[in-house]
């Protein structure tokens, strides 16, 4: 049965069993491998995507529930990795193995969309559904704060004055 939704801004139709979890539709039918399988039971957050802007565990979301909705995956978060969360993640050098990080980034970007200046305890609460087996938690916290700053004062992409201009 054909199911239509918007995926990373583009109209998308899939013909799969309606109870197939969105995770497997993304990974194996649409070949978007950024969304990860960690547990399949909503315990780890590796499969986090945005559904109408809200973070959702795609491993437990039947694709039929995506009908007519806007789905954003890590591949669609920005054109080129320039989303403040992605930029902060690179600047702070968060990843170890990297496997959880797409899910972390999707949860973090959803948090910042609703709470642009989260405290540490806001972060702990919003991110506690995302396991990092390598335990990069110290840097995840730091990177979310950094992303909050970047989002407030986005760095200009053309030449930025690097000295002397403000005597």
């Amino acid at each position: 049965m054909a199911i239509a939704f918007t995926l990373n801004g583009k109209p998308t139709t899939v013909d799969v069993p309606p109870e197939m979890p969105l995770l497997w539709v993304l990974r194996d039918e649409l070949d978007l491998k950024g969304t990860k399988f960690g547990c399949g039971r909503s315990f780890c957050g590796a499969c986090t995507v945005h559904v109408d802007g809200e973070p959702q565990r795609s491993c437990r979301m039947a694709v039929s529930r995506a009908r007519g909705r806007e789905i954003t995956t890590i591949e669609g978060l920005s054109e080129d990795g320039a989303h403040p969360v992605q930029a902060a993640w690179q600047e702070i050098d968060v990843p170890q193995c990297g496997y959880c990080q797409a899910g972390q980034i999707m949860s973090a970007s959803a948090l910042l969309a609703s709470n642009p200046q989260p405290t540490d305890s806001d972060i702990d609460e919003a991110m506690s559904g995302n396991i990092c087996r390598c335990a990069t938690y110290t840097r995840i916290r730091a990177a979310i704060h950094r992303a909050a700053d970047l989002a407030q004062a986005p760095p200009t992409s053309h030449e930025t004055a690097t000295g002397g201009s403000e005597a």
């Binding site: 799969v16 920005s78 170890q96 991110m127 390598c134």
Partner: protein, 739 residues
Amino acid sequence: MTGADKAGNLSRRGFLHVTALAGGGMLLGARFPLNGARGAAAATADAEATLNAFIRLTPDGTATIMAQNPEIGQGVKTMLPMLIAEELDIPWRQVRVEQADFDATKYRGQMAGGSMATPMHYESMRRVGAAARAMLVAAAAKEWKTRPEKCTAGAGVVRFRNKSLSYGELASAAAEVEPPNPRTVPLKDPKDFQIIGQAIPGVDNPKIVTGKPLFGIDVSVPGMKYAVFEKCRVHGGKVRSANLDAVKASPGVTDAFVVEPTGSAAPSPSIFQVGLPNGIAIVGDSWWLVNEARSKLEVTWDEGPTASQSTAAFDRQAEELSKQAPEQDLGNDGDAAGALASAAKTLEAAYRYPFLAHAPLEPQNTTAHFHDGELEMWAPIQTPQFARGDLAKALGIPEDGITIHLTRMGGGFGRRLYWDYMLEAALIARQAEVPVKLVWTREDDTRFDYFRPGGYHFLQGGLDDSGNLVAWRDHFVSFGEGPRFAPSAEMARNEFPQAFVPNFALQASKMPLGIPTGALRAPTSNAISFVVQSFIDELAAEAGKDPLQFRLDLLDAAAPGTRTSFDAGRMKAVLELVRDKSGWGKVDLPEGTGQGVAFHFSHRGYFAEVVQAAVSREGELGVEKIWIAGDVGRQLVNPSNAVNQVQGAALDGLGQALDQEITFEGGRTNESNFHNFKLLRIDQAPPVEVHFVISDNQPTGLGEPALPPVPPALCNAIFSVTGKRIRSLPISRHDLSWA
């Protein structure tokens, strides 16, 4: 890397060889003995280990460096190329890093394990870079008709007087230069380092944060089918019969069959501890559909002898063995029994730690394809060389007919030292006669691990009337049969405090085990540190001494003449540093908050750590902070990754101590997913402050040694608040309430 090369002028020296690239530029390959290969021999079983490194320099000035070792998140894919680039003297932004495939004809020592990459490669990788630089300088000198000594090189450019040529411009000419002897090529003075010692972000970060396919589980090949593999829940059990026809009729399923290996020669018994893979493969067009079809399976199993094993039975058996004479003496100094009998004070305690799973976040997987009589695989594997040898035996095909493409790994922690899932995928692909991607569920991954073995220690300690430790006896009840311990269930005879206590006895008894065990990050140390450093804390309290000072005194008590690989001076230095940084004994902590300390030496690294924890009267535990002081030699190659590894290892140890345990009933693993095998979450992760002592010793690795001190330091902190000793893990099993 292949195809573009033309045969070039091979060096007569045989150490380095250079090839002119078809499109211009040079390819430099290196082969010479690894620095530290002797130490690595135990890990690689290859005393003659040689290293090959490859640098490709193209006319656009880019240096492409092959990252030869598998990346499991330890940062090696960034670290080894940094060593080459430093001596090549090229700006890091002109460096590209490519993951090399497994290739025993090109590379040696392609493995991840034992925190070995830094000690093995620190100097040799630099020598490769330095040799390449010398060739570029020689090419420039020839062009300018001067002597190489008159030229200078740096930042990707060679200069002489007012002339300059970039490495890219020189690359083709350098391909004509005879490579120098890498053993004698001069290396930089460390004070001139530009790249080593800089915080360089992981080379795969841009791909990771944008979700590009990198991992084994992301592999896709044309015509590929998906597979799941159902095994007997009792470890080592075998299929008798199954309703394959019903499963085959399920939607999306194209095939279902019993997998029974047929190889003639026996592969490694340490990998196939419960025999070769046996179970039912379901193959089809969608992983989710084939996994759904599993619920239709009805299988009659031959459960085998392990069905009688359980955690409760192990506990009972260990208790009984502790009352009997130990089966085996592992080490004796002085006269422990006599000294215990005459000690001013004695203490006895029984410690226990559980089995643990590795739980890398990426479940085990492999894509396998038989074509043209050969096997091609894409696998997240820490030990491709050993895997290939074993696969060849089990499948009855020649080793050189197996190609292994290395993928990034979503964590390893030791799990991917074992290649059971690769053999499963190969057997399934052979029988299905199509390319197959096998992906385990989290439940498969948790149940069918090579667990960190549990263990039991029955300890006695004796103090003299000044409170000095004079006797130590440990009856270690572990797993194994005859003289052999189960994998990673052994204990080194020189484990601390051996050589620091005049009367020391380490004895062991063993229980048979039908469940696979193996190395988990900081193997043996991750368990033994908990036991030793907790009991030392008990003895310090008994002696009425400050636990940190008691440890410093103990480190001063090295028995004369007994040399161990353990350098007490280095350990004292980190212990003093962590004392000062944590404000040990100096800061006023509120009621209900306390600090605990522990140290441990493993993987050539010295680590002392302080944990600060709060325990409410009702027994609620909060870990507030961890301070770490470590000594891994004279140079941190990449400080950003170094701190990340140390913080991760410490929090890993914290997660283990708080709430992790694997238990068995009827030979089956009870735990199955993250709701009952609990990994640490961000709201449980305290800040971790990391300090290093830079000592004049060979740089060593950081993936493991920061982990072992955390569990005992936390338990010791809990004692300082509650007066309760935690003698078994995990802590969640204990009532911590206090009055």
